[in-house]
């Protein structure tokens, strides 16, 4: 057997391309904590709309701010929003999903009906409604996107947990007198973790898109905080003078989302070979 073929990892190309893009995103965010070429919010009107050069890799915007520094700093907001919004979704979603799977009956029906209902609402609409009530800002954007994630995770948790609970080992554990909490931690969670990780990756991508859209509309990050969505809104004001300013933040969003989606697909293939076999 061909050695290289035998050791080819199961995720394939999408896993690796996705992983590289996501690592690049994380590195950009991490490095921006300690270093950016210029302070991202520093205004320098004398050098406004400068083309890309050695001093300003991506040029400057209409207030003379360094675009490369803003892109680096913007990755921080994207990651922050993604991590917390997905965290909220996982924390409440897993809890509700497990509750539904274990409780059955009316509680299960209630939780699932509610999830279906919230699920039918697009993330962006939920976010717009909530930020309009709570006021604009990154924190409220995070809450809004997090709320949308809860039913997605809850539905997945219930469905996967139910299939674990119908297995012999779960029945055996129950017959041996183990309580629902012990069964949840020892048998259900370890078995549904792969599915949750894959879904969390996809929800992370959706969170980045939603944050960018909210910030573009002025409902997310507020000045002086920078965000890719806000950069696109600023770029639109000088579209005729410097169309290139609209390219960088958009490409940053698209590459991050692409990376996360590919990573999710790759992880699904790697963690669950059965799904891959189905094509």
């Amino acid at each position: 057997m061909n050695f290289a073929l035998r050791f080819r990892p199961r995720g394939g190309a999408s896993l690796w391309v996705g992983a590289i893009l996501v690592v690049a995103l994380v590195l950009a965010a991490a490095s921006s904590l300690v270093w950016t070429p210029y302070p991202p919010a520093a205004i320098d009107v004398a050098h406004r709309l400068a083309p890309p050069s050695a001093a300003h890799w991506f040029g400057t915007d209409n207030l003379g701010r360094d675009v490369a520094s803003q892109i680096l700093a913007g990755s921080r907001v994207s990651i922050l929003v993604g991590v917390i919004a997905v965290g909220i979704g996982l924390a409440f979603g897993v809890l509700l999903g497990l509750l539904a799977a274990f409780a059955k009956g009316l509680i299960e029906d209630g939780i699932m009906k509610f999830s279906d209902f919230v699920f039918a609402f697009p993330a962006l609409l939920t976010a717009i409604m909530l930020t309009s009530t709570l006021g604009p800002g990154v924190v409220n954007a995070i809450i809004a996107i997090g709320v949308y994630n809860v039913p997605v995770i809850a539905k997945l948790t219930r469905a996967t947990a139910n299939s674990v609970l119908s297995r012999e080992y779960a029945l055996a554990a129950r017959a041996a007198g183990r309580g629902p909490v012990a069964i949840a931690f020892d048998h259900v969670l370890p078995n549904i973790a792969p599915a949750l990780i894959v879904q969390a990756t996809i929800q992370f991508a959706i969170a980045i898109l939603a944050e960018a859209a909210l910030s573009y509309l002025g409902l997310g990050a507020q000045p002086p905080q920078t965000s890719w969505g806000k950069m696109l809104a600023d770029a639109q004001n000088v579209l005729y003078n410097a169309p290139r300013l609209a390219l960088y933040p958009g490409a940053a969003i698209a590459l991050s989302v692409l990376g996360l989606n590919l990573l999710g697909d790759g992880l699904r293939d790697a963690l669950d070979p059965k799904l891959k076999a189905r094509g």
């Binding site: 209902f117 039918a120 609402f121 697009p122 993330a123 962006l124 609409l125 717009i128 409604m129 909530l130 930020t131 309009s132 009530t133 709570l134 006021g135 991508a205 898109l209 960018a212 859209a213 573009y216 509309l217 002025g218 409902l219 696109l232 770029a235 639109q236 579209l239 005729y240 169309p243 609209a246 933040p249 958009g250 969003i253 698209a254 590459l255 989302v257 692409l258 989606n261 590919l262 189905r278 094509g279």
Partner: protein, 315 residues
């Protein structure tokens, strides 16, 4: 089928009721007094109290809810604080832009998504499949408002073929339709990419079924079996996703309408949010909820009509 339809209608009505309660509750905790916002920061407390009373804002919540729903059922949505005009016509005129936009975007998404999905499934594992799947990954990752800006850069800034935005009104139907083409493409592209993937996987699943082998064994050509047997069986998941997609289209329109400065529902809502024009936002969100829930209702019925197994009573 009749029992199924009745059951769906009851569920539809119940969902609408819950939706209206949630929308009312969320908008009701809006910080900031609407009367104070209308009169400005210099208004005296007495003037604010008087306006609150006139607008009925000092009534208890259940009464305000009942008045809102009662009014809506009679077609009276109340007055916009900011525009000082009835909300019904305001929303209707914005829908005259948003509804054609959403329909055009959905038509674009369905045409591209179904065609590309069938093509990829038919050539599963070959180069054409890989190219379509790669393109759809990029399509899903591209934010619709960025695509919208890129289209503006290409067609308005560089080629100067179309104006960068704005809407001439339906008095000039040709120019009005023209103004909606780029927004519809920007809005529909992501949904086309998603639909491509759904169509492909649903079709591949159907292609692996036993009835496909039977059809081929009977002498039905590959292409004919695909269209006559596989596609109808793949249609249920495709239709379900399309229902959900329409909801996403409507939400996405809020952003895309802003890129193209279209006077649609999205722009009206956004302006009303910054004006703290609560009633307009409340009615706008409720309208979107009615559209989304209504669409899911129609999709459920359509799926039951296509697939008799769905309307069988649960065993």
């Amino acid at each position: 089928m009749l029992a199924y339809v009745l059951q769906r209608i009851i569920l539809f009505a119940a969902t609408l009721l819950i939706a209206s309660l949630i929308v009312f509750a969320v908008m009701d905790i809006l910080p900031g007094d609407a009367a104070q916002t209308i009169l400005g920061p210099t208004a005296t407390p007495e003037a604010v109290a008087a306006l609150s009373h006139k607008l009925g804002l000092d009534q208890p919540a259940p009464i305000r809810y009942a008045r809102w729903i009662g009014g809506a059922l009679r077609g009276d949505l109340g007055l916009s604080y900011a525009y000082g005009s009835p909300i019904g016509p305001l929303i209707a005129s914005s829908l005259a832009v948003s509804a054609p936009l959403a329909l055009m975007a959905m038509a674009f998404a369905a045409a591209v998504g179904l065609a590309a999905g069938v093509y990829a499934a038919d050539r599963r594992g070959r180069a054409g499949d890989a190219i379509v799947m790669g393109a759809s990954q990029i399509g899903i990752a591209t934010p619709n408002f960025w695509l919208a800006i890129l289209l503006v850069i290409l067609f308005a800034v560089t080629l100067r073929l179309v104006p960068a935005g704005g809407f001439p009104g339906w008095q000039e139907p040709a120019r009005a339709l023209g103004a909606l083409i780029l927004p519809a493409v920007a809005l529909g592209a992501v949904q086309a990419a998603i639909l491509t993937r759904v169509t492909r996987s649903a079709l591949i699943e159907a292609l692996n079924e036993d009835f496909m082998r039977t059809a081929r064994a009977k002498g039905v050509s590959r292409r004919a079996a695909l269209w006559r047997h596989a596609l109808p069986n793949a249609l249920t998941p495709i239709l379900t996703i399309m229902g959900l997609q329409f909801a996403n289209l409507i939400a996405g329109a809020i952003v895309v309408e802003n890129v193209f400065v279209l006077p649609g529902l999205g722009r009206l809502m956004l302006q009303s949010i910054s004006n703290r024009d609560t009633l307009v936002v409340e009615n706008g969100v409720m309208l979107l909820a009615v559209i989304v829930i209504g669409l899911n209702f129609v999709v459920d019925l359509a799926c039951a009509a296509i697939d008799p197994r769905l309307r069988a009573p649960a065993a």
